[in-house]
Amino acid sequence: MATKRKTGPKKAPRKKYRPLRAAFLKLTLLALLIGTVGFIVYGSYLDKTIRRKFDGKRWSIPAVVYARPLELYVDLALTPETLEEELQLGGYRREQAAKDPGGYERGGNVIRLVTRDFAFADGLEKSAAVTVSFSGQRIASIKRTDSGETLPLVRLDPARIGSFHPREHEDRILLARKDLPNLLVKTLIAVEDRHFYRHFGVDPLAVIRAMFANIRAGETVQGGSTLTQQLVKNFFLDNRRTLWRKINEAVMAVLLEMHYSKDEILTAYANEIFLGQDGGRAVHGFGLASQFYFRRDLADISPAQIALLVGLIKGPSYYDPRRHVDRCLQRRQAVLDMMLAEGVIDREAHKTALAVKIEEGDTFQSGFNRYPAFLALVRRHLDRDYHEEDLTTDGLKILTTLDPQVQMQVERELSKTLAALEKQGKRQDLEGAVVVSSREGGEILAVAGGRKPRDSGFNRALDAMRPIGSLIKPAVYLTALQNGYTLASPVQDVALTLDNEGGKKWRPANFDKKEHGRVPLYEALAHSYNLATVRTGMDIGVEKVAANVRLLGVDRDFPPLPSFLLGAAPMTPLEVSQMYQTLASGGFYLPQRVIGEVLTADNKLVKRYGLSVEQRFGPELVFLLNTALKKVVSEGTGRGLGAYLPDSLQAAGKTGTSDDLRDSWFVGFTGDRLGVVWIGCDDNKPTGLTGATGALVAWGNIMRSLHPQVLELAEPPGIEWGKADLRGFAQSGSEGRAELLLPFIAGSMPQGAERPSASPLVEKIEDAGASIFNTIRGWFR
């Protein structure tokens, strides 16, 4: 202790000085330490962020959805205009002379086109140059353009109609490094980042050069950002020009360069860069931009087009080639000059490219995500078998059943009809939904979820549950036919009172508030008599009817209340469609399909949704019922269809109206298609429309635009025809009752029925030529 004290005074001055210096040192060290740790922590945070972003982007390839491929063959009902419309939708470009894949030319009744390679589930369909000639609204011949060889069938590559991307309203066509044309890469480097292959993420020289240039010009004329920095900027889509952001960007750029090769960065850049806006969809990457602006694959674009795209990077909307042609041209010429100066192109190519005009703005909107209602249904079917992740990252190819021609007509005619109905009526906010499917295949060809087809909001076709009214009646009478009734059986259309839910009394009435007395069953269905239907249904039992509705394909339990017999059963238009599909296909249940196949990104078949059928009702029963459904159209509540379609079409259908005219329905089928139309208001208020004055009109307009085929019912063996003795029935407006031939299941013909001398097959085996003629004649009515 003493010694310490002795030495103490000697060290006193140093003692005073040392703590200060030590503290300072310590503080500096601490600050340095904190700084370093902070820097490392923050750096590694940035590192993690940027790597996650980069890897995520690289591997997330959205599932792409395709329409059905158009099959061209001789005699197909198709006009050159319709084919052109379909080609446009599929991203084909009109040219003077079609020679590259994806091009077509048209001269009057002849269209020459070059299809693109497409890998279908059953193999690669090679690109083919074909010449299609039309005559009389049909395809007259299909030939190979080069050899003139006649082809029986040509399958076009299908149109892309949408994609499932994690970020909505975005889409991309992802390209690999090898898919990037050399000229594009060289131009990019010449224009945007000359030292790309030499710098480490940032290019200080370029920054200094840009600074001087900007000072001289007094405004920002040049950027010093490298491609890597631009990529980082694009990843975070933040346009704030703050210093902090710039520093972050620079650090992340350097980090990116540490982890990934130049080629990886370049490829990511080419797929990520923002190049324009297509309505609600952002156009990212050169692959999609090339399709969007030129309707060509990136591999097929010219030097002038490359210059245009690279020029766009500076400001996609400022230099928009469709809205600001002059500005865009100036920018492109400047890029071409840079290309020449940097030796990317030679004088000759430079001169040629300068002379190229900017192609006229192609205003036709591509099919991309144009059909949100249909895509929603595709999505729902996919969700049964796939996880969200599979759909947004694996680049699956989904081949659907959408028929763009049908879809376009459905959209057009629905909105036209609704507008026309509103002019006549009181309501101004009518809505509608439509589902069209193929009659024998159960493939859903078109879906309208509302009158505004681009709206991806409430999808009424899938989600609007509305009482189906008289659409239930075919199920009631099918059950009756199953239980001993015939089409000529007398049924009583006379008032009655029943106990409904909770012991409440229920007094159904006819639409015209009248009673029609004793009528034959087929008339009760054709004229949609409520009292007769309820009496018949009560006689056979509501449970049996409800069970048959289930068998028809509506996968739901309905309480077997008497009011069920008049359609107090809410269903969606899609469910109604499935229910009638079973009738349209002759008693076979076909699960309706929207997806044909799912393929991996490299075209391996993952899943196929094949055709399957299951007989649920005897063909004789359904034949009888469908004959009565034809009567609905020829003389019953559906006869208004005659204003839209020729009688020779012999369509079958049924009207439906719910209480207080809230819902207007029509379902019907022709030889080739089944269609369901619903019209109503979202607030569920009365529309003032019956099935016949509302939905039927839309159905007629839609089908008329689709070149429908004549409905010929296949008569199964074991059917007998006879004139039933209908003298004991009440008078009715129905003409020719006495002469009417009705089909009966063998052995069920009522006493006193008169068999015809000759088989009444005239209707059935109508000459095919004549029916085609009738169809054609019908279009001109």
């Binding site: 099959e71 063959y73 080739d672």
Partner: protein, 167 residues
């Protein structure tokens, strides 16, 4: 030097093997039936089947569906049932009411031991067969086989009766 000679000989030998490996399958290809989409029936098809194909091609479904039927059969013969089904479904899309195509689908399902769907497609074919008694008879004969396989004795008898009735 010797070593080099042996090496060269070995090289030539390898070339020969390689060349023949390449050309052999080509010979196979040349002998094989026409490319997909061309509507000539295959050589090894039985006359009855050829007739059936020709009839369905000309009468009901036209050349396009006929071409697809041919490629469906080619795929089937090659054991590619999924491809065959896809081709048939394409044909059915063009000619959905062609009873013969539905029967073809039934036969294809039968080949894959899918008796349930084979039965259903036969029934479907029958509802569209109309006056074609021969087709109806064939479908009942097939159904008889199917029911026998499924052990549905009652239905076997019924199918046999209906097959006889269609003769």
């Amino acid at each position: 030097m010797k070593c080099g000679k042996v090496g060269r000989l070995w090289h030539i030998f390898r070339l020969v093997i390689l060349l023949s490996a390449i050309t052999l399958p080509l010979h196979g290809c040349a002998r094989r039936a026409p490319v997909e989409g061309v509507s000539t029936p295959r050589q090894e098809e039985s006359p009855a089947r050829q007739e059936e194909a020709a009839a369905s091609r000309e009468k009901e479904s036209g050349a396009a569906a006929g071409a697809l039927l041919v490629s469906a059969r080619q795929a089937e013969q090659a054991g590619q049932f999924s491809r065959a089904e896809m081709a048939l479904e394409r044909a059915l899309r063009l000619a959905p009411r062609d009873a013969k195509l539905w029967r073809e689908m039934a036969l294809l399902k039968l080949k894959q031991d899918d008796y349930g769907q084979a039965e259903q497609f036969c029934l479907k074919s029958n509802t569209l067969a109309g006056d074609d008694r021969e087709l109806t008879r064939k479908n009942w004969v097939t159904l008889e086989k199917i029911y026998a396989r499924l052990g549905k004795t009652e239905k076997v008898a019924e199918a046999r009766r209906k097959a006889l009735a269609s003769e």
